[in-house]
Structure formats: C-alpha cells, structure tokens
Symmetry: C2
Subunit: 437 residues, 2 copies
C-alpha cells in the first residue's frame, strides 16, 4: 500500500490499476461462458448466482458493507468522512443469452476498481462511495428490462416485480429465493446523492469519430409498436394487382415509410442546428404463409422509434399512425396496433454531465456529449438523484453478441474517468434539483 | 342407354350428367381427406396411389385402353372411327398438402364424364378421345411442378426425372415402383392431335366479373428471384441512421419497388390498350435476427414477376435488377441473386381458344378470354399440339386451400364446355401449326 493521499490536489493524479480491472473482467466472463468469448448469465439463473457470488466476494474482500434488497439488487458501500447518502456507481452483471464481456460488467467492476484504488491509496472521501449491481437489467429472461433499478427508485411496486413471470415460466420471487438473493433491505432503496455509470456505448458513434469518451446527456425516448396486418392470402399468379389485399406489401411500405420519417426529422434537425436525432427501425417483419407464390395473407412487424426529444418522438409516432391508416385503407387490410414499450426521454443532470466531460478532457481524452440509444440503470436512478454516464467505444457498435469488444486502453480510460468523476462529485455540494435544467 | 346419336347436328345438344360428375368429385376428395373438406394427396404417396387406383378403376369401367408411362402418367383412350392421334383432355389428381377438391381433379373427372356421356349416347367420334392424368403437377413433393407432363412432351429426360429427390428425401423412381405406377409406355409420349384442359381459375377474375367461362389464351411467363441481402446487425437505439447497413430496409424497399414496377407497366398497358398485365409479388421475406430492437443483419426475399408478354417480363426483371443494385450501393449491403424459376409465356393455339370461346357462348355462358396466372399441364402439351384450356370461377380466387370452392353449376358448365369443345375439335382438321400465330 502506498502512502495515504490527503491533499485533494493530489487526487487529480490518481489512476486505477488497469490490469487488475481487466483481470476481473476476464474472470467474471468465465462464468456462463459461450462460444466466441461472451457469457450467458440470464437474470436469476445459476450462472447469474455464480456471477453474483464472485462479485459479492470481491466486495467483501474490499471491506464493503454489502446489502441485498428485496428484489436482489446488491449495494456495497465504503464509508466516507461523513455519514449520509453515498455517491453511487454501478450497473448490472446479468446478460442476454448471447452476451458480451463488457455490457454491464464493466460498470460494476470499474466501480470496484475505483474503490480498490481509493483503498490502495488510503483515500478518505467526504461522502460514502457505493457500487451497486441491479437485478435483471437486460430483461431478457424477465421483462421489462431495468427491472431491479426500476423497483429501486420506486417506479414499480416490489410485489408486482416479484410476480413477474419469465419467458421460461419461472417467477422472479421464486428464483430470488432459489439462488439466495432475496435480500432484506427495503425497496424502494435510499436515493444516493449522485449516480454515475460507466458503460460500453453499444453503438458505433465513438469509434466512427475516433473519440474515446462519451459524456452521456440522457437516454432517448423509446416507442415500440407492433403492427399485425390482416389481408387476404392469394395466388401470386392469378390475382390481379387491383384485387389484392397484400399484408406483405403494407408491411414493407410501413417499413420504408418509417425510414422516411427519420430522414425527414433529421434533415430538419440539421437545418435547425438541433442535436435531437430520430432513429427508426423495423427489425422484425414476418409474413404468412411466407411462400414465393402466395400473396401474404397476414404480416407482423415492429417499429422502433427513438428520439431524445419527446415532442419529436410524438411527431414521429403520429406520422407513422397516419401512414398506417392511409395505406391500410388503400390496400383493404386490417391493422391491429399494440404498444410494446413506451418511455419518455430522460435528461441527465447537467452538473454530472459536465463533470464527466471536464474530467475526461483533463485526462487528455477526446470527448463527445451524446445521448444513449440504449436503456440503462442510470435512467432509473435519474428519477431520484443527479445522474450521468460515461461511455467508451464499442468496436463496430456490436453488443449483445460474443463479438462485443472495447479496446483495453478504452476500458481503463473509462474507469479512470469514473474514478475522477466520483472524486469530483465527492467535492461538490449537490441537491436533487439540477440548477441548469 | 339412350339411342345412339349419329347426326352430328344432334351433338350440339349433348350434355354431361352433372350429378355423376359431382359424385365422382366427392368420392375422390375422400381420399387423403383433411380438415375443411380438402384433400392431401402429395405426388406418389399412398394417398396419391389410392386416388390413382380409383380413377384407373373408373377408366376400366368405361372400357378405356389404359396405359401407364415410365414417369407414371396415366392415359385412358376411347377409340374413334379412325386410328391415329387422340383428341386429349385431362389434368392431374395430385394435390398440395392443403389441397382443395377441384384443382386438377375437375379436369380429369370431367374428362371421364365426357367419355361416359359419349358412351351413354353411343356416339362414335372421328378420332380417339383420351383422358390423362399427369404425375406430380403440383411439384409440392417433387420439384419442379408439372414434372409428368414436362417429361411427356420431352422437356425433361426421363432419367433425370426419375432421380428427382423430394422434400422428404424420397426419390421419384423409387416411389413410382413402391406405389406400382412405374409403367412401360415410353417417355416422351405420343403427341395428341389436340389437348384441352378444364381447370378451376384459382384466381378471382371470373367471379369478380360474374363471368362463367374463361377461354384461356395462354400462360403467363414466370420469373422467380431470391435475393439474399447481407448488411450489418446493429442496435436499433445506438446506431445512427447514416451508419446503418440495414438488410431489412433494403428488403422492404425492394418489395415496395416491385409493386411499383407492376403499377407502371399496367398503367402503360391500359393507355396502350394492351391486354398484357404485370403482376409482382414479394410473398416471402425473412429477417435475421428478426428482433424489435436489432437492425436486421441479413434478409431473404423472393420476387415473383409474371407477364403474358416476354418483352415486358424482361423489362420488369431489368427494372428490378437496376433498383436492387442502386439501393444495395446506397445502403452498403451485399445482395446475392438466385433464379428460382424462369419460364417464358406460353400462347395457346388460337383455333382451340376460339373453339372454347365459341362453344361456351353457344351454350349460353358469359365468356372472357384471359391468360392463366398459374402453371398447368396444358402449357407443356402446348409444345407438341394445338392446346387450349377452359376455366371456371373460383370463389374468392382461393386455391391450394381446403376452402377452394366452385359452384356446382359452374363445375357442370365447365364439363359441358369441355364436352362440346372436344366434339368440335373432333370435327376439325388440325395440324400442329397454328394458322393464326
């Protein structure tokens, strides 16, 4: 152990032990291994339990005060000079079935690394520092995603969450009991004084720009609509075009129109100098009977619309709905709409975003302020405390895939930014209200 | 038995026994029955054998000279006053897995009914009259469709056809042996002096117009293309529109463009007063991984283009290929094209088409000259003799479905037209060359 650092100005030179972080990431990835180097630790499975046990053991090694709440969220706290709410970091260690090594895990293990660095240098913070991992962030086994952090901030009643039935028929409460992670700390949990989460971008923007750090400004609003189209199945050779009720044509036309909505809104945003970008995706499109020579009698597709601006997202939704109504009438098909998900955009606290951006710049990294296109636990914590996130690049933007990759230098850079951001936040007076909304 | 009809003028009053025809259709439909009233008699299965045995027994009851050729086509011949090539009718009795009661069966059993009517009235024709059913018209078990008639006219070598492997791994030659229908008559078979086939329309045109009889002018040319698109799978939230290589978008855009090709060609045809209509269908479209929040990394779709005019069909193909190349380059995806089927349009013999139209008009039916949008054995016979077809309406255009339906009056009307067409053709001198090409 090196000498305790007592002068706050010396803290600016503090750095994490990158090798130790990478070793921990490698070790956690060996639990639930899958071909290609990724992991499968679906929430509340045996593999998730083994991952939890490992991280909890590391928390105990660091002398943290570890608590488990009633939905299985785990929080490890290192005391500060004063009592009170901790500065919190963390993320999740559950994965999708084809999970990568860094999604979630990086944020949790970098949090441990921050604390171990403080320990190694004998640094006492003003406020406690906490590292958390939240239950079922992926939602891959138990919908919705971000279940644990949602319950933590009081966005979903504990009883309701415990009754959630998974895709395999298992029930959250039963599985928490089975793996020994139904804890006794209450839900909702206590609000931290601030929350900052390190995560891989899961998108291509940082890599494409050659930028190392994303100072995340918020999370896009999400609108998922499933359209079930019922037309009439007909012979592709004998049915004249004007007598068709082609569900496949309507599905394809909606997909093309969705792309057009994004193009139109983004063209306007560029002209206006607005940072709000629309994305539109038809990722699922199924025809029935799906045969070369049969006009599709029915079709199902999903439309995923996201924007950082709620008004623009609503405009996109309205445009889509109007087009669907028009083309359904033209083609003589019925369309049933179902909302699969709808979240308003989340704006992070400018003070935390500024800290992340300033720290990253000070550490010599290129920085981009950017929204997150994916959901994260931080967006739930943003409901109860000043919150921000740090992104590091994802190779080819690939995630939820064993091929997910972030260069080791970038992983370590992210952890250093997290360390310095937590130290900076520790020195700030924060109330829950953002003075620069 | 009524008195023999010897005066040719009296023949014009001859009608089939409609009840007997309908009874035979009902009885054949009970072999391989499926829910909803249809039949499943995939080619060369036990059910197909049982259907064949029944029809052959009926042929023997009528005293026909029944032969089976090396690919399992069955021909029953009633002698005429003179030897030589017969006037032939017929169709097929194999079905798709979800077959209706009339597709194919009507043409074969109406042929039997024509012969039984001639027998019942003691009518001697100038030329022999033959009724045939051809092997594996549907191609549902053994591709390609119209296999038996294709071999009959010399369009495919017998040895090649016998080696065809079915979707269940069975081999045509083995299955012919197994069900006892590998006959000894040679392939290719002898050309009839003329061929006329009665079939349900399998399309909505006659019903929509309230017309009873279609005098079929030919068969549309068919172009089937499979496009396999390889883009890049990405997160739907984190990947900006301009960085996407969205295979699903390209697939949808191609589907919409294909519809546009048909609209453009048909608009021009209407303006020009041309009868040639383009149809374009994307019946199959599969995305991968097919998830709401993932940009599709790959997509497969099929484009079915048909036209009665070969030049127009080529124009449609060229338009499609140009669009695919353009959008693939724009989106940065790779597209592999594979031709699944390509047949030029078939024009039936004007003399036979005229006979069908004239006879139907004389019998008091409304008649429309029209192309066939589906493939039929007649298009193969057209390669070797003057050929035509009679269509009767299909309710809602539905076929290849247990709900396939034609009104009994229309079934009987079609058989009467077939009877009178055969009698008229019997009185004509026909050579193989159409004098009105």
């Amino acid at each position: 152990m090196t000498d305790p650092v007592t002068d706050r100005s010396e803290l600016a030179g503090l750095r994490v032990d990158g090798d130790r972080l990478l070793r921990r990431l490698d070790e956690l990835a060996t639990i639930g291994p899958i071909d290609g180097g990724g992991s499968c630790r679906l929430a509340l499975t045996d593999e998730d339990r083994d991952g939890r046990d490992l991280v909890v053991a590391w928390m105990h090694d660091l002398g943290l005060d570890v608590t488990v709440d009633a939905i299985g969220n785990v929080v490890g706290v290192r005391p500060g000079r004063t009592d009170g709410s901790p500065t919190m970091t963390g993320s999740h260690i559950d994965t999708v079935a084809t999970g990568g090594r860094y999604d979630g895990n990086l944020g949790v293990l970098a949090g441990l690394e921050v604390i171990e660095t403080l320990e190694a240098h004998g640094i006492e913070t003003e406020h406690p520092v906490a590292v958390a991992f939240f239950t079922d962030e992926e939602g891959a086994r138990f919908p919705p995603d971000m279940l644990g952090s949602l319950v933590y901030v009081g966005g979903l009643a504990l009883e309701e969450a415990l009754d959630v039935v998974g895709i395999d028929g298992a029930v959250v409460g039963d599985e928490l009991d089975r793996i020994g992670y139904r804890g006794t700390s209450p839900c909702p949990g206590p609000a931290p004084r601030a929350f900052v989460e390190l995560h891989v971008e899961q998108g291509p923007v940082l890599e494409a720009e050659g930028t190392t750090v994303g100072a995340v400004t918020g999370v896009q609003g999400i609108s998922w609509t499933e359209l079930s189209i019922t037309g009439q199945s007909n012979h592709a050779g004998t049915t004249p075009m004007e007598l068709r009720h082609d569900a496949g044509h309507v599905a394809a036309a909606v997909a093309v129109h969705a792309r057009g909505i994004a193009a139109r809104l983004n063209e306007r945003a560029v002209a206006d100098g607005s940072p709000d970008r629309q994305v539109a995706t038809v990722g699922r499109l199924d025809l029935h009977p799906d045969l070369v020579n049969v006009v599709a009698g029915s079709a199902t597709l999903t439309v995923d619309l996201r924007n950082t601006d709620e008004d623009l997202l609503r405009e996109a939704e309205a445009d889509l709905a109007a087009f669907v109504a028009t083309i359904a009438a033209e083609e003589g098909v019925e369309v049933a709409e179902r909302t699969l998900a709808r979240f308003e955009p989340v704006a992070f606290d400018d003070r935390v975003v500024d800290v992340v951006a300033d720290v990253a710049t000070r550490l010599g990294h290129t920085v981009r302020r950017m929204p997150s296109g994916a959901g994260h636990d931080a967006q739930m914590l943003a409901r109860v405390c000043p919150t921000g996130m740090v992104f590091v690049p994802s190779r080819d933007g690939i995630s939820h895939n064993p091929a997910e990759h972030t260069d080791p230098d970038d992983l370590v850079a992210g952890a250093d930014v997290l360390l310095q951001a937590i130290l900076t936040l520790d020195g700030l007076t924060l109330d829950r209200t953002d003075p620069n909304p």
